[in-house]
């Protein structure tokens, strides 16, 4: 890695004051240190947030919203009784990702900012518009098995690799951030962005802002939900396609439905019109295909990843079935429910 200046800010204000374009916040470090070793991330300074107080709480407010501090580790969040009781979808998605070791290190805030697994992004000896804008995107007609089929641009076809974020998207979480001008709340759907012609930017977070918490609004998703992840081995692999479903059923009819896809786009992929198709309906399997069609409208493959369109269609239907049947996918039992 490149030499850097290391600091431990004593509080959030100091952290924000010290944050420049060339600085990085250090949380769990699982992705940042990784990328620094690959010479992909070259921060001039690291602001170590790991000792800051007040960012490690998990609590429920009066309206039933769950607030998870940015420095809560993925492991602690997934094991937290409030998360497990009210948002098991989030716990399941977290546990479907990475490994026990990585989840013990990775923070909720850091996971939001996880960067793509695109092979070219990681390889400093190849062109990549995300790593070095203007150099090109060899993935488009190169090796693109893990790449996006939705929301791509001519400049970038990378995917967002997080499992956690897919669940947060389905749960319509809000990312709470703090910057020089105070606190800002960013809806999950607005937090990650599509590559467009600035693929170097993954999120709408300002360079001087820091994530302080994730808030999940109250929802009755304790029973009908699932996180279904399909990958190239049965554990410890990034998703080829994943589907998070949060469903409210009232008297046999779907009163609310949220579906987000992972592994298919530069951000967790949601299409509200697709969700609306089933609202008010009984969860009949015949209708699931229409939801998939709408979610995947405009999907295109780049060769190796052509299969993702068909696979996502099948996975969406299955995940809807699992959620409706209150049979969420276990991350331990590998047989698909």
């Amino acid at each position: 890695m490149r030499p850097f200046h290391y600091e431990r800010p004593r509080g959030l204000e100091e952290a924000i004051a010290g944050k420049t374009e060339a600085a990085r916040f250090l949380g769990g470090g699982t992705n940042l240190i990784d990328l620094m070793k690959y010479d992909v991330e070259r921060p001039a300074s690291l602001l170590d947030l790991t000792r800051l107080e007040g960012l490690r709480e998990v609590e429920r407010n009066g309206e039933g919203a769950l607030r998870i501090g940015a420095l809560v580790t993925n492991a602690d969040a997934a094991a937290h009784p409030l998360v497990r009781e009210h948002h098991p979808l989030l716990a399941d998605a977290i546990l479907a990702g990475a490994t026990a070791q990585l989840r013990n290190m990775a923070t909720m805030g850091g996971n939001l900012l996880q960067r793509t697994r695109c092979y070219y992004f990681y390889d400093r000896q190849t062109p990549c518009n995300k790593r070095e804008p203007g150099t090109g995107c060899p993935a488009k007609d190169g090796v693109n098995r893990i790449h996006a089929i939705l929301g791509t641009s001519e400049h970038c076809i990378a995917t967002h690799p997080s499992d956690m974020c897919v669940a947060l998207a389905a749960l319509e979480a809000v990312v709470v951030v703090r910057g020089p001008s105070g606190e800002r709340r960013i809806r999950m759907e607005d937090f990650h962005r599509l590559p467009g012609d600035t693929p170097e930017r993954d999120t709408t977070l300002d360079a001087r802002e820091v994530v302080t918490a994730i808030e999940i609004p109250a929802g009755d998703y304790g029973r009908h939900h699932t996180y279904l992840k399909l990958r190239d081995r049965l554990s410890y692999a990034f998703a080829l396609v994943s589907v998070a479903v949060a469903m409210e059923l009232r008297e046999g009819r779907i009163s609310r439905l949220r579906v987000a896809l992972g592994g298919v786009a530069h951000k967790p992929w949601r299409v509200k019109e697709a969700e609306a198709l089933l609202e008010g309906q009984a969860p009949e399997e015949e209708c699931f295909g229409a939801v998939a069609d709408r979610l995947l409208q405009g999907a295109r493959g780049y060769g190796h990843n052509d299969f993702k369109i068909g696979l996502a269609r099948l996975a969406i239907a299955r995940a809807l079935h699992q959620a409706a049947a209150a049979a969420p996918q276990s991350h331990v039992a590998k047989r698909i429910a």
């Binding site: 890695m1 070793k37 992909v40 026990a100 554990s235 410890y236 039992a333």
Partner: protein
């Protein structure tokens, strides 16, 4: 990404660390990972570098009670922490940890390179209580790759200890 143009050396930082019960006061280059510090700085070469990127688990140590990939831990950020490595699993009198014994009995390794990581991970796994079923052990040990393919034997070793301790 702004490129740093002037070649230069790293900053150094002071650090206290307790490793396997022994406390160390150190002065290290700030870019040192916990793994490199253990291996090159303290000569504790039991923890292994298999990928240096958190992809294999060979460097797994128990840091403040939790298993982590030491290759991704910036040592400077863990001032005051306690680390337990494979060298610290046996008791000071040389008696092996039950999991070490079980690894030998069940031939849970071949080349032995992933073994320190498997053991630290397994010891933490037992403490976490993720040993209720074979499936659970397999999933929660999946962060430790073994290229020799000793997985069924590692499972048998963990299961035996878990049963003895009433955790399975």
């Amino acid at each position: 990404m702004p490129d740093d143009l002037s070649p230069r050396g790293p900053e150094t930082v002071a650090l206290s660390l307790t490793v396997n019960g022994t406390s160390h006061s150190l002065h290290i280059p700030v870019w040192t990972t916990l793994l490199d510090l253990l291996r090159e700085g303290l000569g504790l070469t039991g923890s292994k570098k298999g990928c240096d990127h958190g992809q294999c688990g060979a460097c797994t140590v128990i840091l403040d009670g939790k298993r982590v990939n030491s290759c991704l831990v910036l040592a400077a950020s863990r001032d005051g922490s306690e680390v337990r490595t494979v060298e610290g699993l046996a008791s000071p009198d040389g008696a092996l940890h039950p999991l070490q014994e079980a690894f030998i009995k069940h031939d849970a390794f071949q080349c032995g390179y992933c073994t320190p990581g498997q053991l630290c991970s397994g010891v933490a796994l037992l403490e976490e209580g993720h040993t209720r079923t074979e499936e659970e052990i397999r999933e929660w040990m999946s962060g430790n790759l073994c290229r020799c393919g000793a997985y069924p034997n590692i499972l048998a070793a963990i299961l035996e200890v878990a049963r003895k301790e009433g955790r399975a």
